[in-house]
């Protein structure tokens, strides 16, 4: 019985980690086409990734988008989380539900709707559309994660700060903000990774020479079948893993998710 349990656990772990291992090895191939097991080991495709111009520009776009949209989502989300946590907002429950809707609605629908009803009629630039779409998709994460850390904080410490002479804003900046700083950092990391890995909505929001990195990778694969795509996937997975591990070490990310 116990052995069966262990076998089952091992199978699940293999299923979860297997693809990642396969991709990493495929990316280290010395051969010409994407295959597993690889035909010999080399770093040539890892180096090749950095030479492909479209990857460089889409990486830059995804990086800027991830940082920009997450910051914007936090700028809107922190006050929203604060208001929902501290005040008896009329219709607060409804607002909370609307704010979590983007997590429930499939991204492909969000992307199509944005393209059909916002980008095309308004002639909005693709970059701006991406920025707005990603911000909207990230607000729920910002609100939820910041709410979680606000709920762990007694509201009366702000009153205590006010009675010691500071203003309302001062109390928020001097007392509340330092205590939810870890929550905000956690929200930033979760938001950034979500944005960076987002495909369905971004798929519709492409233009000449403008695509996010995951979308660009899909486009690349339609015409090329070399191991560079696997090498890039491995690099991205390592990047995400590093960020999450560092965050877990420094902030205890798992408390907030």
């Amino acid at each position: 019985m116990k052995l069966a349990g262990h076998l089952f656990l091992a199978a699940v772990m293999l299923f979860l980690i297997g693809p990642f291992v396969i991709i990493c090895f495929a990316g280290l191939s010395a051969g010409e086409s994407l295959a597993f097991p690889p035909e010999g080991l080399s770093l040539r495709w890892v180096i090749r990734v950095f030479e492909i111009e479209s990857f460089r520009s889409s990486f830059a776009l995804s990086l800027a988008l991830g940082i920009g949209a997450t910051l914007f989502a936090l700028i809107l989300g922190i006050p929203a989380a604060y208001a929902l946590a501290r005040y008896d907002v009329p219709g607060g429950e409804a607002i909370r539900n609307v704010l979590t809707a983007p997590i429930i609605v499939p991204g492909i629908i969000v992307g199509l709707a944005l393209l059909r009803h916002l980008v095309i009629p308004s002639g909005l630039g693709v970059r701006l559309a991406l920025f707005l779409a990603h911000s909207a998709l990230l607000i729920p994460y910002a609100v939820r994660v910041v709410s979680a850390s606000l709920e762990n904080l007694r509201p009366d410490i702000e009153e205590a700060a006010i009675l010691l002479g500071t203003s309302r804003i001062g109390a928020f900046l001097r007392v509340t903000l330092p205590n939810i700083r870890n929550g905000i950092m956690a929200a930033f990391i979760i938001g950034f990774i979500t944005s960076f890995n987002e495909v369905p909505a971004s798929l519709f929001l492409t233009g000449p020479g403008v695509a996010t990195l995951p979308v660009d990778m899909l486009l690349y694969m339609e015409f090329n079948f070399d191991p560079s795509i696997a090498a890039l996937s491995g690099l991205l997975a390592l990047m995400s893993l590093t960020v999450v591990l560092v965050a877990e070490r420094l902030l205890g990310l798992s408390h907030y998710v």
Partner: protein, 340 residues
Amino acid sequence: MSEPFLKLDDLTLAYGDSIAVDRLNFEMREGELVALLGPSGCGKTTTMRSIAGLMKARSGRILLDGRDITRVPANKRGIGLVFQSYALFPHLSVRENVAFGLRIAGTPADERDRRVASALSAVGLESFADRAPAALSGGQQQRVALARSIVMEPRLLLLDEPLSNLDARLRLGMRTELARLQRELGIAMLYVTHDQVEALALADRVIVMQGGAIEQIGTPEDIYERPASPFVAKFIGFENTFETEGDMLKGSAGPVPTGFAVPAGTRGLAWRPKSVPLGTGPHEGRIIGASYQGESVEYLLESPLGEVKAERPAAEPRHAPGTEVQFDLPLSGAVVLPNA
């Protein structure tokens, strides 16, 4: 006597449409220690919050040292408040918690250090200055909260249920400490409590509140020995409190003769459980509960008056639950509640 130090003048407080405190009036002298006593929901905490400026007054005025502070924002009133939860800043050390207000005020560093050190030594926490609040016990956290307030040298210090989160041994220590600080610093202190023992033991004067209004103001002796209303009598431990009409007590099942001539101008009569003899007297009841307390036995009786509590010395003959027993509510053991 000079102007009162703190004066509430027809203060009315409300949450939306519900009035929490209705035209409250009281005064406090400089350096006085006053307790606001009442059950939860009586408006005592609301009153304290409005004195601190954390709640807006619907109408009426708050005067501090002759100055109308009703519209002065909380951060400009110079009133200290020790929260029931202590409300320490979790990201700052004990020393930085205490220094917080002085930093806001821009006090020079050397003076700040000196005042923080003296506040910490006043509460006996010098050696804990570099700890985080979370690493302290409840009693120590409360002393930090106290130091954080007194370092600002407030003229008035408000305390919300200062002893309620402490265990019995710490309570006694804290009570002594508060009284000592109050004597040494001469700060007027107003504290809110629902515990009559706490109010009586610490305060110069006690204000009993109920339903958003004051029931009685007096010294602890006044309150304990001469309650002014049936509510105060009940709240302070006269568990057998009945309103009167002529020579009749108003029982839950109709009027019951007292068996003596009730003095004129009486509104009600109140007896502590200790003043109710069993086995003799004009009233009859059935024992529905008996609980042995060591020195004494506490009985709960069901009678035409309603429930009656009696406490008899353990040496007296016992009464088993379910038995019928006579009892007395003698005038000699009663407190007379006068007409308002």
